[in-house]
Symmetry: C2
Subunit: 348 residues, 2 copies
């Protein structure tokens, strides 16, 4: 089989550290990879003023997939790297599915009392190209007592339908076959109505899937006190952002939370990244847990049709986590990467 | 002292049940109350099509305070009662502070492992009259493949400054004196910038208060795995809605979460209500916990300057909760109300 062409964007802070380990595991799993690094992020921005040029974006379209570490640094005003680089990639490459599993691995410590691995096993399908993330809005009379600032949530039938359909298909594949729409239909009446009508309209195409609805506030509460309520969740970009961080917390922390920015139509490469940020406070110290990136690599392998390899990486992570429980904690970023790599290559 | 003129809106579902107990406690605390009931909510809406008339709104302005149970019923399309009744009251009566304490009472079971009462003791100051709750937005080509639906978040310097100033004042009164702004400045750049600049500008007026910032996604995670990070939080209407439900979950459930919709300038009556909804699934069965309403009554007494009475009600609740721990569970709505009432009147 031909080589997989991979674009790697380590990014800022701990991004570089965790991506190194992700690539180590990828190599060990035995797929042929041809990877090119792109030094996008804060350093490049400070040196050249560039966030993401049209040329680089065009080049990125030519890859089979993108692996991203983390974007963002306190030296850059909030929003610049996020909007012009990270979100631009998600929007331009039409990553309309932001896929975020929330799964408690056996052996992982959850902050929730009396919670067993089987209680937390869901997949959040977060819409990735619309809503308040569109960047619409403006400001008038900035810095004066008469300032007004607006943000607009843009939602289309086209955009909502495709992600809802994807979520139904995921739900249909899972044992529980339950899909929960999370929104705020009682306040965001226009957008909420579009989402709810879309779910209602698609539902008959998936008669085996049970559907449910929860307001974002109630859903956030249930993540904490009844996480077993959820199987597959479909939700908008902002609500998905919030709920997947709660998901990361209950499933043992942001060090384990993987994500895929998926273009299901494959008109452009999908992009895989840990849910965590660049964590400048611990960068360069070998303290970051690369597991979230390694699990994102597993999602990438799965997306590329390498299901056996994906399963092998996921199993290696699961085994490594059980080992932690047995007191093997306190490892550096490299050590965790090495241990998982050894398991993947069959050496552990 | 003159009578307190109180408007009571029991509302829908369990609203009526919990308000009955709240009033019982209020009577027992020994303040002179003159209360008038308003049958606003789903029943009135179905009978007359009326949600909140200008006349009733005008009348409500004449009271010292409003006690509200819960609004909403599945028989009414989402948004109608919320927008035309509940949110209309909050907006018209200029309840720009939606005050929601998040406090773990000793004896309450929290879903978080290894968490002690002192770890969860914060106050969320949720803005109540702006942002996505303004109801701005629209829909085009509804029900067609070309539908677009928008929601607009409206934020003003006037609106943000007053609530930020209130939050600083609250923080200055508390032992830890820490104020955390929660927003999403890296994506909602216009509104986020207004909030962050406002906090920065007011901060020098409160040199004793430490300020901090967290994105809504990170804050939601920290509510679950590091709640001790927070003292006073100031945030926008939508983020405050979400985060206070997580707060309710970690502090032992929605049955204990109180709130005040406050007009600090006292140009109109403030309104006190439990954070929970009308819970139609358990309505009429005596299953609802009236404690959230009773704690909202305590907030009301405090707002009306009756601090000794407020403290007495809060203490009665605290004592009642300790009793629960001792196995005194399984009580009906009435029984809990009676028990707290007895404590308030000194009979327990
Ligand atoms: C960095 C930020 C723009 C991003 C988001 O809000 O989507 C992050 O929080 C995430 O969840 O991937
Ligand atoms: C019922 C609903 C409109 C309301 C809100 O979103 O503010 C509720 O969730 C609350 O928190 O009081």
């Amino acid at each position: 089989s031909r080589n997989i062409r991979l674009a790697v964007i380590p990014g800022d802070g701990i991004g570089t550290e965790v991506v190194t380990e992700g690539l180590k595991v990828l190599e060990a799993v035995g797929v042929k990879i041809e990877s090119t690094h792109y030094d996008l992020g804060a350093t490049r921005y400070h040196a050249t003023g560039e966030t993401l040029s049209d040329e680089v974006l065009q080049e990125l379209r030519g890859y089979d997939a993108i692996l991203l570490g983390a974007i963002g640094d306190p030296s850059v005003p909030p929003g610049i790297l996020e909007r012009e680089l990270l979100l631009r990639l998600r929007f331009e490459l039409d990553h309309y599915v932001n896929l975020r599993p929330v799964k408690l691995f056996p052996g992982v410590e959850t902050p929730l009392a009396d919670t067993l691995p089987g209680d937390i096993d869901m997949v959040v399908v977060r819409e990735g190209t619309e809503s308040l993330y569109a960047g619409a809005g403006g400001v008038l009379r900035r810095g004066t007592p008469h300032e007004i600032a607006t943000q607009e949530s843009l939602n289309t039938a086209f955009g909502v339908e495709r992600v809802v359909r994807y979520a139904f298909a995921r739900a249909a594949e899972r044992p529980r076959k339950k899909l929960t729409l999370v929104h705020k239909t009682n306040v965001l009446t226009y957008a909420g109505d579009l989402w709810q009508r879309t779910v209602n309209r698609i539902a008959p195409e998936f008669p085996e899937v049970t559907t449910d609805y929860q307001h974002i506030d109630a859903a956030s509460m249930f993540f904490v006190n009844q996480p077993e309520r959820f199987d597959v969740i479909v939700t908008d970009n902002l609500f998905g952002d919030i709920i997947t961080d709660i998901g990361a917390a209950i499933a043992g922390g942001i060090g384990l939370a993987a994500s895929g920015n998926i273009n299901p139509d494959r008109t452009a490469p999908s992009m895989f990244e840990p849910v965590h940020g660049s964590a400048p406070d611990i960068a360069g110290q070998g303290k970051a847990d690369p597991t979230a990136t390694i699990l994102s690599v597993a999602m990438m392998l799965d997306h590329l049709g390498l299901t056996e390899e994906a399963a092998r990486v996921e199993q290696a992570v699961a085994d490594d986590i059980v080992e932690r429980l047995a007191g093997w904690a306190g490892r550096t970023t490299h050590e965790i990467g090495d241990d998982i790599t050894a398991r993947v290559s069959g050496g552990a």
